[in-house]
């Protein structure tokens, strides 16, 4: 079980609204899933390096050259709200 208080804390970190019913359900379900995941703790992997990319790619670079991109009007065409060539949002609180 993950406590409902902890569920609310994590939901806030993720900027995710949850109903009281969802919080209750999530607390049980996340607990069950994490209980199953906990078995990876059985392994002693102290000296094992982590893998982030299966092909071991690191720092792929390209020349920094200017080229044509989408216009501001095009990019803003999918936005719920826009003003003065910018994305518009409600008051920052």
């Amino acid at each position: 079980m993950i406590s409902e208080e902890e569920v609310r804390h994590v939901a806030n970190l993720a900027r995710l609204g949850l109903t009281d019913e969802e919080v209750e359900k999530m607390s049980g379900q996340l607990g069950d899933i994490l209980d199953n995941i906990d078995q990876i703790g059985e392994l002693n992997l102290e000296d094992v390096p982590p893998t982030a990319n299966a092909l071991n790619l690191t720092n792929v670079l390209r020349p920094d050259e200017p080229h044509a991109e989408l216009s501001p009007e095009t990019v803003l065409s999918t936005a719920p709200d826009a003003a003065d060539d910018l994305f518009a949002v409600p008051r920052i609180d």
């Binding site: 993950i2 902890e6 569920v7 994590v10 939901a11 970190l13 993720a14 900027r15 995710l16 609204g17 949850l18 109903t19 969802e22 999530m26 379900q29 996340l30 069950d32 899933i33 994490l34 199953n36 995941i37 906990d38 078995q39 990876i40 703790g41 392994l43 992997l45 094992v48 390096p49 982590p50 893998t51 982030a52 990319n53 299966a54 092909l55 790619l57 792929v60 390209r62 989408l70 095009t74 990019v75 065409s77 999918t78 936005a79 719920p80 709200d81 994305f87 949002v89 409600p90 008051r91 920052i92 609180d93």
Partner: protein, 487 residues
């Protein structure tokens, strides 16, 4: 065109159709009309698509026909295709199966689609679990797709709409995406071929990201030759995707018929046991005996850390989800639920926009990455990933191709696992180690159990798709299965 010649066209593989069009026996436009008519006929039963695009398919097919007259086209370009709704299609609604993108029309096409050709004959955007998270398509905001073999059962997921479209003949082939089995498992459950290429083989640019270190676009086809041809169409390096591999693309059809004589085939011990339905196990064993009869050297191989694959996956994938899905915040695209302040707008938009599974994974990932838990979960899971890669490396020092079931069970009934996330996750237990290691893998129908298709999963080392496809071709030939349109 007469009804019987349409049904004759529908009985062809994509390769056969393309050859017929190349020989000018039929036009791409007629193929598109045939696909559209088939969608019209069966879509009410199977719900393979979020959005159908019959007009677009016809316009593009006419352009393909015109280009054929004035020069040439690539063989595959004349074949109508279904495209999973997580792949960006310029000006064509792309929802990812989510309410949060209910109105989103991308500003550019995914690179894999452009590789196929600018006039790709898209018959529709295929249904999927929301943001490709799930194993049944029941997590789609647009209703579940249905398995053409039994409409009360799931087609698998997350690329379930792509799989049901191919099985039902709504287009001759489809593109799916595979993060933890999402191409192979639905292919297995619908009796078609599903290929997950090596990580980096196909550009992810324009694929709306789920778990960036695992996602890969793959072909879903009627047979193995079609799989090779469709991989040929989409593979290649892309400067727009820094994780795409700068490795030459071989001719995937060249070695296809080479057979398995002398090929070393290892059956994965850990993936044949507990939780695997007897009928599924017997089908895989029968196919393995067939490969042995065709000259393969068969042995048993152990992947000792494979049992930790699923739990490691359910840390790594949700962690990446919690980051990738942060962009859906009501600012730049998709749904916005109005509120007085920006934080309330974020919370309300995401509450209304995301479904249960997306919320669960965002929560799981955020929790695993949050202060105090990072080392126990994310860091440990990344080390498990290293151990799984070492297991495969060891196995590939002795075997060319590994074999297991694709899914531990045949297609299950709609509704039977939707309230039990852990039971649903187990559906991908054989598939996820492949994604963690970044190797290629293919599911080939091996026969029937309980009247439903069973998929045989083959796996090989990084960038050895020619060997994998050759083994898959032989698997198809020794299996007790022949593609027929359903329902």
């Amino acid at each position: 065109m007469a009804e019987d010649s349409r049904s004759e066209l529908l009985s062809l593989s994509a390769y056969e159709l393309a050859k017929k069009i190349e020989a000018r026996e039929v036009s791409a436009t007629e193929a598109a009309r045939t696909a559209n008519a088939r969608v019209e006929e069966v879509e009410g039963d199977v719900n393979s698509f979020v959005t159908t695009t019959p007009q677009l398919a016809l316009e593009r097919a006419e352009r393909v026909d015109a280009r054929m007259k004035n020069g040439g086209i690539k063989l595959w370009e004349s074949v109508p295709i279904a495209v999973k709704d997580v792949l960006s299609t310029k000006g064509v609604r792309t929802t990812c199966g989510s309410n949060i993108l209910y109105n989103f029309e991308p500003l550019y096409d995914a690179s894999a689609l452009l590789n196929y050709g600018e006039d790709m004959i898209v018959v529709g955007k295929a249904n999927c679990d929301e943001f490709a998270m799930g194993s049944s398509t029941e997590n789609s905001a647009y209703g579940p797709s249905r398995n053409p073999w039994d409409l009360d059962r799931v087609p698998g997921g997350s690329s379930g709409g792509s799989a049901s479209a191919v099985a039902a003949g709504e287009g001759w082939w489809a593109l799916g995406t595979d993060t933890g089995g999402s191409v192979r498992q639905p292919a297995a459950l619908c009796g078609i071929v599903g290929l997950k290429p090596t990580y980096g083989r196909v550009s992810r640019y324009g694929l709306i990201a789920f778990a960036s270190s695992l996602d890969q676009i793959g072909p879903m086809t009627r047979d193995v030759r079609d799989s090779a041809l469709l991989l040929q169409a989409i593979a290649g390096h892309d400067p727009r995707d820094s994780t795409s591999a700068n490795v030459a693309v071989p001719d995937y059809l060249a070695e296809l018929e080479g057979g398995v004589s002398g090929l070393r085939v290892g059956v994965v011990k850990e993936l044949m046991g507990e939780g695997v339905q007897p009928g599924t196990r017997e089908t895989v064993e029968s196919v393995v005996r067939g490969l042995e009869g065709a000259g393969a050297e068969v042995g048993e191989v152990s992947l000792p850390h494979s049992r930790y694959g699923l739990p490691a996956y359910y840390i790594i994938a949700p962690a990446e989800v919690s980051s990738n899905l942060a962009r859906f915040d009501g600012v730049r695209y998709g749904l916005r639920v109005p509120a007085a302040g920006v934080h309330e707008m974020y919370r309300k938009t995401r509450e209304e926009g995301f479904g249960d599974e997306a919320k669960r994974r965002i929560m799981l990932g955020t929790y695993a990455l949050s202060s105090g838990y990072y080392d126990a979960y994310y860091a440990q899971a990344q080390k498990v990933r290293t151990k799984i890669i070492e297991d495969f490396r060891d196995a590939f020092s002795r075997y060319d191709v590994l074999v297991s079931p694709t899914s531990p069970t045949v297609a299950f009934e709609i509704g039977s696992k939707i309230n039990d996330p852990l039971a649903m996750y187990l559906s991908d237990i054989c598939a996820v180690p492949v994604n963690l290691a970044g190797i290629p893998s293919i599911s080939v129908p091996g026969g029937l159990s309980e009247g439903l298709p069973v998929g045989v999963q083959l796996m090989s080392d990084h960038f050895t798709e020619p060997t994998l496809l050759r083994a898959a071709r032989a698997t198809e030939q020794v299996s007790d299965f022949k593609f027929t349109l359903k329902p």
